[in-house]
């Protein structure tokens, strides 16, 4: 494997008993890329992502994330990545600043750095009025944006986003993607799963997952060309039907 890729997977597989959730997938992600994992619910996206994050040990295959092995070096991987899951990941009973300080502190950010980051984020998200409010009182869209900001607070090399825009209105989704672009622009590699096909258009490259396998992997434009489709939704339908 070369160092040109920040994530590399080769025949990565995860089995739960007799059920194969992820079936021998291989792909690689370049630094700074926005890499999308698309597929229906239950296609194996989340399982694949959890293996890459060091939350789940693969059954077989090979993979490295930021140069670390997903079998043996899960804790080193964790130092270099950010993660935001589809389940809400911040504490409802803590305030905005307390959440930032908690996660930032866990990643070992110094006090001055934490202060600087907090001010920056509150400014960025325009939530200075709500900084000392409990999270439970904030609208879902704000919470999601905050969760994303917290996931990259320690300036990781890669951020994994698992269905980050689930249940959010279209405007907030648009804003959310602006934030993703911003992060990507700053050199963070973004690995995102989604089942919203329109979001696939925002990715540099997408991999279409069906039943635990990667059915197709390319840029959105190439995929549309290949499948002779107007949009990604059509591409997906065609792939799912087996062309």
């Amino acid at each position: 494997m070369t160092n040109n890729y920040i994530i590399e997977a080769e025949n990565l597989t995860k089995k739960f008993g007799h059920f194969t959730a992820v079936d021998s997938i291989s792909f690689s992600v370049k630094p700074g890329e926005i890499f999308g994992f698309l597929g229906a619910n239950g296609a194996g996206k989340t399982t694949a992502m959890r293996m890459l994050c060091g939350l789940s040990i693969p059954s077989s295959g090979k993979a490295t994330v930021a140069g670390f092995d997903v079998f043996k070096q899960t804790e080193q991987i964790k130092k270099n990545i950010g993660y935001m899951s589809q389940k809400f990941s911040l504490y409802d009973d803590l305030t905005v600043t307390e959440n930032i300080n908690f996660y930032g502190g866990i990643y070992g950010l110094s006090k001055s750095k934490l202060k600087e980051k907090t001010e920056y984020l509150i400014d960025l998200l325009k939530i200075s009025d709500a900084r000392n409010k409990l999270l439970v009182s904030l609208p879902l869209g704000w919470k999601q944006k905050l969760a994303f900001s917290v996931a990259i607070i320690h300036e990781p090399k890669i951020v994994f986003l698992d269905e980050p825009t689930g249940g959010v209105d279209p405007i907030t989704r648009r804003q959310f993607w602006d934030m993703i672009y911003e992060a990507s622009h700053n050199g963070v590699t973004v690995f995102v799963t989604t089942h919203y096909m329109d979001e696939a258009e925002y990715c540099n490259r997408v991999s279409m997952m069906v039943d635990g396998r990667i059915a197709s992997l390319d840029t959105p434009d190439n995929l549309k060309k290949e499948y002779n489709a107007d949009n990604m939704h059509e591409v997906f339908v065609k792939i799912a039907r087996g062309k």
Binding site: R50, C53, G54, L55, S56, I57, T74, E75, Q76, K78, K79, I81, Y83, M84, S85, K87, F88, S89, L90, Y91, D92, D93, L94, E98, N101, F102, Y103, G105, I106, Y107, G108, L134, F160
Partner: protein, 370 residues
Amino acid sequence: MRTILIILRKEFKQIFRNRAMIPLIFFLPVIQLLILSNAATYEIKNIKFNVVDYDQSHFSRELISKFTASNYFVLNDVSFSVENSEESFKKNQSKLIIHIPKDFEKNFMSAGMSEVQLVINAEDGSAAGIVNNYANNIIHQFNIDMGIESSAKFDPVPAININYSNWYNPELNYKTYMVPGILVVLVTMIGAFLSGMNVVKEKEIGTIEQLNVTPIKKYQFIIGKLMPFWIIGIGELAFGLLLGLIVFKIPLLGNPLIIFMLASVYLVVVLGMGLLISTLTDTQQQAMFIAWFILVLFILMGGVFTPIESMPDWAQRIAYFNPIAQFNRAMRMIMLKGSGFNDVLPTLYFFIAYASVMMSLAVWRYKKTE
């Protein structure tokens, strides 16, 4: 170290932010200690009794007056039918019927032997046993008094004189006994439930995933999670002891430092158990139910309310592995008997071993990576 402090700060904030929980964690145990310690007593006074006196003699009245004169018995009703008196049992109005048959006095004087029947409401077996004891003591005393009056006529009888003394609690004050026990139960419950629900709560909400993906070390996580409850537990124990000393005037003959030394390890056992339950379950409901189940077994078999000596052999043997039984015993030893460090050393070793096992299991079961 800093990571642990950050987790600690977060945990404390969450505990104190839940307004509904603060009184439940801090005030209710105190109120319970105050109320329940008064309630948990086997001491029986004012036993209501009925009399069915078919003899109506001077002698029978004499016997009844012995009962009414004692501190234990209060006359409820006099009637001429045992059946009617049993009605009073059914209505929960009395516990004892003294049934004096006809010719009670005559038989005593002429045949040297007469009989009185005690009918006892034995719904509550242990209370019935005590009522029986008290009643028999009175009749025994009555026998002796009557015997002395006529003793000259009889052979001298060899007698063994039994003196007894109740050490460490001569007034047989139940509160002295119950306060340390109930305190142990309360501290254990708070510790086990709070720690048992804590980690599983993060699982249920989903935040555990977020924590697992951080480079946080297992030991940092566990110390940070358990420390708040350890501090709360020690604090409650201290406050409870103080209440016991001031309000209940419980003696503290031994060294309180030994109590806290034991308690500090004991709490690790309890919290480790809670944590283990937390790692084994998926929902708070499950966690608290398992914790409750284990605690009830430990409490009921821990010698807190009923003595371990009244359990069968196998149960006494099992009780040895019950941390509540051990701590309860040690607390009472130190407070009421003034036992020293060497007396509780085996208990300390036991706790250290227990805590190591619990913590290792919990650490082993808590997986950052599946």
